[in-house]
């Protein structure tokens, strides 16, 4: 696979914030390289190679293989408890593969030293399913904590960055509040703000819109798109939310029985032949795509 294609894979930002595909349309989705073949090509940001993960007798992941190119927004779908969160935790080394390789930013995650892993993690923003805000700190303090530790900004610079980031998630007035004083949806959005504050090149979102009202779903989905369009961020998003998936997905992976059994655009995955996947989306949803396609 030839490298140095990164310019055209970065989508140009357009006035309405809506942009063309990062991985050019019609270009076949990249395949992951075989195990033991070293780093993937430069334009592949995340690559799983035959990943296995079990907890005791529970075999959760059984041969996950996928490649995610730079600047693309991918969505992971699948039933509850199938291992979606487990998959993305491998990207930041929170879980170690039993077997297989995980390549992120050209590095084999499981082979990094502690310091190497910390360096890699600084380039990745991770939004936890639960938000995972630090209970003992106010909204401002937890963002400041991250900035103080990892940037050279002075107090004013940090304040500007924090306020700008809180504007992104539409919660500029929450600075002095503790997590326990926020609603579930607000916590999610503060978690999102905290995860983007270091301006990472990879974002991993675990159900960013769960528990949000439809307006906030659009706010967050638009934010994810803006991050991709304006900063060229590569992202993996777990979501069950079809509205969010429709808005943000360039490519969808569907996890079934420990492997990503279906991959393609949302429309392609929704029309899968597999009964479990059809059931997930519901026949009407698949029909809708079919109608649109046939009508077009």
């Amino acid at each position: 696979m030839e490298a140095a294609r990164s310019d055209e894979t970065l989508r140009p930002a357009t006035a309405d914030g809506h942009a063309g595909p990062a991985w050019p349309l019609g270009k076949p989705w990249p395949e992951a390289q075989p195990l033991g073949s070293g780093p993937p090509p430069d334009d592949i940001m995340i690559e799983f190679r035959d990943l296995y993960k079990s907890f005791g007798e529970k075999h959760i992941l059984r041969g996950v293989t996928m490649a995610i190119p730079k600047g693309v927004s991918t969505v992971i779908m699948g039933g509850s408890g199938t291992g979606k969160s487990v998959t993305i935790k491998h990207v930041v080394g929170l879980l170690k593969a039993d077997q297989g390789e995980v390549w992120v930013h050209g590095e084999n995650v499981d082979e990094l030293s502690k310091d190497g892993l910390d360096q890699l993690r600084l380039k990745i923003g991770f939004l936890f399913q639960s938000g995972a805000l630090f209970d003992s700190m106010t909204v401002y303090e937890q963002m400041d904590f991250v900035l103080k530790r990892h940037t050279d900004l002075d107090a004013d610079g940090r304040k500007d960055r924090i306020m700008e980031t809180l504007e992104w998630v539409n919660l500029p007035k929450t600075t002095s509040q503790y997590p326990s004083e926020l609603s579930g949806g607000q916590r999610k959005r503060i978690g999102l703000a905290r995860s983007i504050i270091l301006q990472p090149d990879i974002m991993v979102y675990d159900e960013p819109t769960t528990g949000l009202d439809p307006i906030s779903v659009r706010v967050v989905s638009n934010l994810i798109n803006r991050l991709r369009d304006e900063r060229g961020i590569t992202s993996m998003t777990i979501t069950h939310d079809l509205l969010c998936a429709e808005m943000i997905s360039d490519h969808v992976f569907y996890l079934l029985d420990g492997v990503y059994a279906e991959s393609g655009t949302l429309a392609e995955v929704a029309q899968s032949d597999k009964p479990e996947i059809r059931e997930f989306f519901g026949d009407e949803y698949a029909m809708m795509f079919k109608t649109v396609r046939d009508g077009a």
């Binding site: 930041v92 929170l94 910390d118 360096q119 993690r121 600084l122 990745i124 991770f126 936890f128 399913q129 639960s130 995972a132 805000l133 630090f134 209970d135 904590f145 991250v146 530790r149 990892h150």
Partner: protein, 263 residues
């Protein structure tokens, strides 16, 4: 699981051993990472406030009660031998050498151990520790090292405080019952104490503080599950800390007697 006869429960035994090994490497990490940045001085300060300042009242009440009760109990016995005059000496010795340090540490194990176990445990199950990890924020330094330092520093300070209040309680009792002059009482009390005694016997509570903080942090840090497990971790933190304090006390006393044998 429950149906297995306890005597054949080898897996529980090996599991227990594995936990001990895990704890060993957890403590080993403390000595490895203690020297390296980030140094969380602000958080150490906050923990000292949490462990220390907020325990002042508790340890004061403990010390006062011990002092008063010890004086009341000993008075009768000593009177029978006509030895009431040695009461201040006896009080000072038993308070400073043994009862003060151990009682204070046990009471603190309850308050501080449960607090650390529950707080770190709930941070684990709500993924806050993972979030610190993913943010390259070194949760071990931030959560564990700070608490260990705070306990190692604050336990001896609180012990001195409890000892002082205890002596004062003993004096109050003597004053009310026997109208003892304070100069006589305290001169006699301090007369019996040597400086090395005070250092060793108060200093051993730094070890107890280390035990409480490291055990409780470990149990919180390694919680798996939900709120029920967090509650259990808090309870186990207290129980384990208390048992280990008592064991450590025996060892420290035996060693210090061997080293500085009184002649």
């Amino acid at each position: 699981m429950a149906s297995k006869p306890a005597i054949l429960n080898l897996s529980a035994f090996t599991e227990g051993l594995a936990r001990v090994g895990e704890f060993g490497s957890f403590v080993g990490d403390f000595f490895k990472r203690f020297w390296r940045p980030p140094f969380e001085w602000k958080e150490v300060w906050r923990q000292m406030d949490e462990v220390g300042v907020k325990s002042f009242l508790l340890t004061a009440v403990t010390g006062l009660a011990i002092g008063v009760v010890l004086a009341m109990q000993s008075r009768g016995t000593l009177a029978r031998f006509g030895a009431e005059a040695v009461l201040p000496k006896m009080l000072a010795l038993s308070l400073v050498k043994e009862i003060g340090p151990v009682f204070t540490s046990l009471v603190l194990a309850g308050r501080v151990g449960a607090g650390i176990g529950a707080e770190i445990g709930s941070m684990r199950v709500t993924e806050q520790i993972d979030a610190l990890e993913v943010g390259s924020l070194k949760p071990y330094n931030y959560l564990v090292i700070t608490r260990v330092i705070a306990c190692v520093v604050m336990f001896p300070i609180l012990t001195v405080w409890a000892d002082a209040i205890g002596l004062f309680g003993g004096f109050m009792e003597s004053y009310i019952v026997g109208n003892v002059d304070y100069r006589v009482f305290f001169a006699s009390a301090f007369d019996s104490l040597t400086f090395p005694d005070i250092i060793v016997d108060t200093g051993k509570t730094a070890i107890f503080g280390f035990i409480v903080a490291s055990v409780s942090s470990f149990l919180g840090y390694t919680v798996r599950g939900g709120t029920r497990e967090v509650g259990q971790a808090a309870m186990q933190s207290v129980v384990t800390s208390i048992l280990l304090i008592l064991v450590a006390d025996v060892i420290v006393v035996a060693v210090s007697l061997a080293l500085f044998a009184p002649d």
